[in-house]
Amino acid sequence: MEAEKGKTAKYLKAKRPVPKAVTEHLKYFTRTKKALINALKEGEKTVPQLAEILALPADEVMYHLMSLLKYGFVETGEMDDMDEYFYYKVKDHGKDKS
């Protein structure tokens, strides 16, 4: 099979199926991303607040939130009154397409 330039992913997909764990992982990330962005759309929040709303361990929220910060969906806000936790908020309305 000759692969057309710019469409070579199909070529490899035919030769090498994507493992189920990889697609499951993508689904999980997409779900978590949506949940985090939706929670932040309602107002800026800290990591422990997000962990409570999403019922996820705080370290997992931290990891995904920092990934979203890196990818440009989220930005850093002010610190809380105790100078302990930062608030985070959606950037560009969470790029809306999410």
């Binding site: 710019g6 992913a9 990889v22 422990p48 990891y63 990934s67 890196k70 610190m79 302990e84």
Partner: protein
Amino acid sequence: MPESIKTLEYDVLVIGGGIAGGESALNLADIGYKVLLVERDLTIGGKMILLSKVFPTLDCAACITTPKVSEIARHPNITIFTGAETEKVTKLGEHRFEAVIRQKPRYVNVSDCTGCQLCEEACPVSVSDQYQYGMVGRKAVYIPFSIASPRAAAIDIENCTLCGACERVCPTQCIDFTQTEERFLVKVKSVVVATGFELFDPLKIPRYGFGQYKNVITSMQMERQLAPTRPYNTILRPGDGKMPDNIAYVLCTGSRDKTVGNPICSQVCCMYSIKQAQLLMGALPMADITIYYLHIRAFGKGFNEFYAQAQDMGVEFVKGKVGKITEKENGNLILRYEDIEAGQVKEAEHDMVVLSVGVLPNRGISETFENQKLELDPFNFINQTDILASPAKTSIEGVFVAGTASGPMDIPDSILSGGAASAETTSYLRRAVS
């Protein structure tokens, strides 16, 4: 499909593109030798390029490494293979070596990639970023980090869903999923081994709770947090995003410890911990920093003054061996330790713990040498057979060692060692001419 193997010829094969291998390659290339630099990672620069600052001068590590890396990358006498492994090396005779190099597919044509990162934006996958030591995610198509060399995307095929989104947005059509592994037969006259070191994995000391307690991190993770290209918006606890204000360092984690199979001193942990403590005092002015140590080894030029400076800045030094770490409900950590000077077992609470992990040999390179044995020392670093007179010499004539492949050392010593290896290689090659 029959496997084709291309034959290439160079004067010197340098295995490892960290600061020591890079220095060797650069010196040899400047003299006029043709060098092939083979790097397993997607970028050259080794571990140094990932550091925040260096001790004892507090110079920015990236600012020192980047010009050097670009000089290596642009040198007309140096060819670089990244994402490539040395499969085997055979000595056919003096000045006659043959190596087989395996080039793994990157699925990106590096020469066409402009580093625009549109593919990264389009990629829906997020997996753990190994260059940020797992503290944040990265995409399945990614540029390793902003100062990587080559600064080109690569596809993590293990985690790619082959959705094709990256291909569709790539303006130069440099993504190519049809790439396959390539093998090269390389004929060289001499070999420099600069395979560097591995960091100790603290999961091997379960009583320190690394992995289980999220606010126990390694010194390399703290190094990333202190770097300008940090994973978080500032220095934060990975467990819950709290800004720490009472940080402990546990020195000799995986060094000078027979129980984990590494009885020797790693030579750099005291100083990098003192450096990080000073940087933390700058970044978090309200924070208390405590360093639990066995002995502070500040033996280099300006090191002891650097140690004294940290004491003057208010870093607390406790001569004590940490036995166990436990976690409180709020994520704080209780360190149970032997206060050596008081002769008592004590407990102290901190809100973040940094394990100053040691330097281990990067195993495997000696097995790639086929017909002659590349000897290791008792600690599995490459044996320097004539350490005083000819420090780069190994058990194979014509194979030289550079940097931490021969044992723990700091950055200036690694660069010196890379220089020594290039000088000894030159001397060996000149003997060929006469």
